[in-house]
């Protein structure tokens, strides 16, 4: 062998364009056998047809606006004519504020809009590792208080708005975020309880709670919160519907989160527990200073995945009649002049849910690779 780089004989004999470059890439990855070629061609045909069909329906033949008469009533005739041929985006144009903010008073909808921005800001800040410290808790507390003030109002010249009028995207974010924020401490306690060896009664209690909740669908828990919970309370005391649904989501999410956290507690080397004991720390010192900070860090990626799941699951509150994003979409569809344009609404809703979930899942995956890189070092 000479000192030059070794090139396989076969490659040396082929013209350079077939060894590197886009044509070689396509040969290797798209047309490397007759079966692969057939699959590629079939897929290209299907993709082109699909995209062309969607563009035809969603752009070329779509109705973007419909004329309004003197009284401001929209005339959906153009949409009705285009039905089945083109999309009716005029419907979304008319209803987008209702879909996003529900029955919140129209002139005050800047308040839930700010809340959405605050929520997103909160998520972004929490995602940055620079902020992973005690102060993050205060940031959460402060932001949630501000969101509460904005949504309810009643001070600073903002008119009071009842919970019954809240809806849309802010509602979905409230259910998901408060659900997470309150389920988290409960989940930590349950995970610790399930791992405690000195307190068998508490352990059995935690096992029973987790297994019971994980064995039944969220709907049954929501039904319980909406139908059974009022029976549990003393006569005359009837907590708000939203509060009850939120409670159901918290109890449900905590069981799943507890299992994730338990995984982190188990994954921690035993030496950490023993070292903390050797230092003579009390149980809470040991857990708070040594174990939990490490165990929780280990399970951040799966916790984000659990959060994605519970974000999607908030859509189930539709069934018990709470105005979240999916419900407002369905209600908008019930409007007499806009009946039958469900595909358009579902696409818009799907895009909104997708943006949130995709951002979270990308983040979780990035974190996972980063963690595994640090672990390998």
């Amino acid at each position: 062998m000479s000192a030059t780089t070794h090139i396989p004989t076969e490659a040396r004999e082929r013209p350079p364009i077939l060894v590197a470059g886009p044509i070689a890439w396509a040969r290797d990855n798209l047309f490397n056998s007759w079966l692969s070629t057939a699959v590629t061609l079939a897929l290209i045909y299907l993709i082109v047809r699909g995209i062309a069909g969607f563009l035809d329906w969603g752009v070329l033949h779509a109705v973007w606006t419909v004329p309004a008469d003197a009284k401001g009533q929209l005339d959906p005739t153009a949409c009705r004519d285009a039905k089945g041929i083109g999309a009716c985006w005029a419907f979304i144009g008319d209803k987008w504020r209702f879909i996003l903010f529900g029955r919140y008073p129209y002139d005050d909808q800047w308040r839930p809009a700010i809340c959405v921005v605050l929520f997103i800001g909160l998520f972004v800040v929490s995602a940055m590792r620079r902020f992973w410290r005690k102060e993050l808790g205060y940031i959460w507390l402060g932001t949630l208080v501000v969101i509460g003030i904005l949504m309810w109002g009643g001070i600073l010249g903002m008119p009071f708005v009842q919970q019954d009028s809240w809806g849309g995207l802010p509602m979905t974010l409230i259910l998901a975020t408060f659900g997470l924020a309150l389920a988290f401490p409960l989940a930590v306690l349950v995970a610790l309880g399930r791992r405690s060896t000195g307190l068998p009664a508490v352990r059995y209690l935690c096992v029973a709670y987790v297994e019971l909740i994980r064995g039944v669908p969220l709907i049954s828990v929501l039904f319980m919160a909406s139908v059974m919970f009022p029976l549990f309370m003393p006569v005359g005391l009837n907590p708000d519907k939203l509060l009850r649904a939120q409670l159901g989501i918290i109890l449900f999410g905590a069981a799943y989160l507890a299992e994730v956290i338990r995984g982190g507690l188990q994954a921690l080397p035993k030496g950490q527990y023993e070292a903390a004991d050797a230092l003579g720390l009390t149980y809470w010192q040991k857990m708070g200073q040594i174990i939990l900070p490490q165990a929780l860090r280990l399970v951040i990626p799966p916790m984000v995945n659990t959060f994605i799941g519970s974000f999607k699951d908030t859509s189930l509150v539709l069934i018990i009649g709470i105005f979240d994003l999916l419900t407002t979409g369905k209600v908008a569809l019930a409007e007499p002049i806009w009946q039958g344009y469900s595909t358009e609404v579902y696409i818009v809703l799907a895009v909104i849910y997708f943006i949130f979930c995709y951002a979270m899942s990308r983040y979780s995956r990035g974190l996972e690779t980063e963690f595994s890189r640090t672990a390998r070092r």
């Binding site: 405690s196 139908v227 009022p230 006569v235 149980y283 995709y358």
Partner: protein
């Protein structure tokens, strides 16, 4: 919960002298643990007692009876799809619940089978060398996973409802109709001969299985494997066909016929059932695909290479070497995916398919017996979850690595 210490037996026994008598001290972890447990259990018991007494009170105020006696009363709930005979004017709430459970099982079982097939195909497609195919599979997984399953169900339901009316139903093959009343299929008129044929198929299957076992023994003894497929063909295809022909080969199809505004006869797949099944299969397959992919990736490259070096056919490599090892990684997460599919089938209530949640919901609205209704729903799902877990654990133990 404070005071729980590590499970160090030395500490507890050393701190607990044999002659402890009445000397209870707060610095004794054993004593502290007991106090804490009593306090916590006592607190929870008090809370439960508070809720139960409130419930009793409330039920009395609202004049709602307790107990499961209502299950015997006449239901009066119209149910569109029932796998057993049902008439709302005669049959009881209990029977309605049973129909609900059967409907839930119908969706869950079909959903689990189809989503496994679809998910496996997509998982393998993601590993394909064809760039376009693997990218498409990846996009499928990413998009489907990030959209709530309830929204997807609504989407499919809307599509199925937008089909033409029965009079304009699409009729691609004689006897098959697609309309907004669902999919109509011809139904085989079941006769005794069919039962015998079915029995023959089962017998043939047992025979083939024992033949295959014999073939394996022979292979282990002599190194030569007798062919299995001729026996399988003879026992599972030819033998039942002979039985069927001997009994006169009856074959009549009950065709769906358009009468008035709807179809009569034939087999119906309602749009509700269709939307629920399609939605759940497509959603769950995106999870299954990831599980299958990671399971196959978990098999070390050396196993493929070693199998190839032995000169095995690629199909045999997959069947004999890769799949058995991948299954060990795949089964545990697959179990939880199946569980979540069964639980997600409860979303039927949102699109009007009458599953157990939907029927129990109607019952509890009619009778007001919320506690019993929800207890029944939870009991049904806990039983389903437990059965799936038990079955999958049994299967997992069967395929698990037997270590020496």
């Amino acid at each position: 919960m404070s005071g729980a210490t590590t499970p160090d037996p030395r500490m507890t026994s050393a701190r607990r002298p044999p002659s402890r008598g009445m000397a209870l001290s707060w610095s004794d972890p054993w004593f502290r643990n007991i106090v804490w447990q009593v306090l916590i259990i006592g607190g929870i018991a008090a809370m439960i007692w508070f809720m139960v007494s409130n419930t009793m009170n409330n039920l009395e105020v609202r004049r709602i009876a307790t107990g499961f006696g209502f299950l015997g009363r006449v239901a009066g709930i119209p149910i569109g799809e029932h796998m057993v005979d049902y008439d709302p004017a005669i049959h009881s709430y209990g029977r309605a619940m049973v129909i609900g459970v059967l409907n839930t099982l119908k969706v869950s079982v079909v959903g689990i089978v189809l989503s496994t097939i679809l998910g496996t195909m997509i998982g393998i497609a993601r590993l394909s060398k064809n760039w376009l195919l693997s990218r498409l599979a990846a996009i499928y997984v990413e998009v489907i996973r990030d959209i709530p399953v309830l929204l997807q169900l609504f989407f499919w339901y809307a599509i199925l409802q937008a089909m033409p009316a029965p009079r304009q139903a699409a009729n691609p093959v004689p006897g098959v109709f697609f309309s907004n009343r669902g999919i109509k299929l011809p139904l085989l008129e079941w006769q005794d001969a069919h039962s015998w044929t079915l029995a023959a198929i089962i017998l043939g299957w047992i025979g083939t299985a024992s033949w295959a076992r014999m073939a394996k023994r022979r292979q282990e003894a002599t190194g030569i494997r007798p062919a299995v497929w001729p026996a399988g063909l003879a026992l599972m295809v030819a033998f039942p066909l002979l039985v069927w022909a001997a009994l006169g080969a009856p074959f009549t199809l009950e065709m769906p016929v358009l009468r008035g505004f709807n179809f009569q006869g034939g087999l119906t797949l309602s749009p509700e059932y269709g939307a629920l099944t399609i939605g759940l299969v497509i959603y769950t397959a995106s999870y299954t695909a990831e599980i299958v992919r990671s399971g196959i990736l978990a098999v070390p490259q050396g196993q493929w290479e070693a199998a190839g070096a032995l000169g095995l056919h690629p199909v045999s490599v997959m069947r004999l070497i890769v799949l058995p090892q991948a299954l060990r990684v795949i089964i545990p997460p697959m179990t939880s995916t199946y569980l979540s599919l069964a639980k997600n089938s409860s979303l039927a209530v949102a699109i009007g398919y009458q599953d157990v949640v939907s029927i129990a919901g109607t019952i509890l609205n009619q009778t007001g017996q919320a506690v019993e209704g929800i207890a029944l729903i939870m009991a049904v799902y806990l039983t389903i979850s437990l059965s799936i877990s038990l079955f999958m654990n049994w299967y997992n133990a069967r395929i698990a690595l037997v270590e020496r």
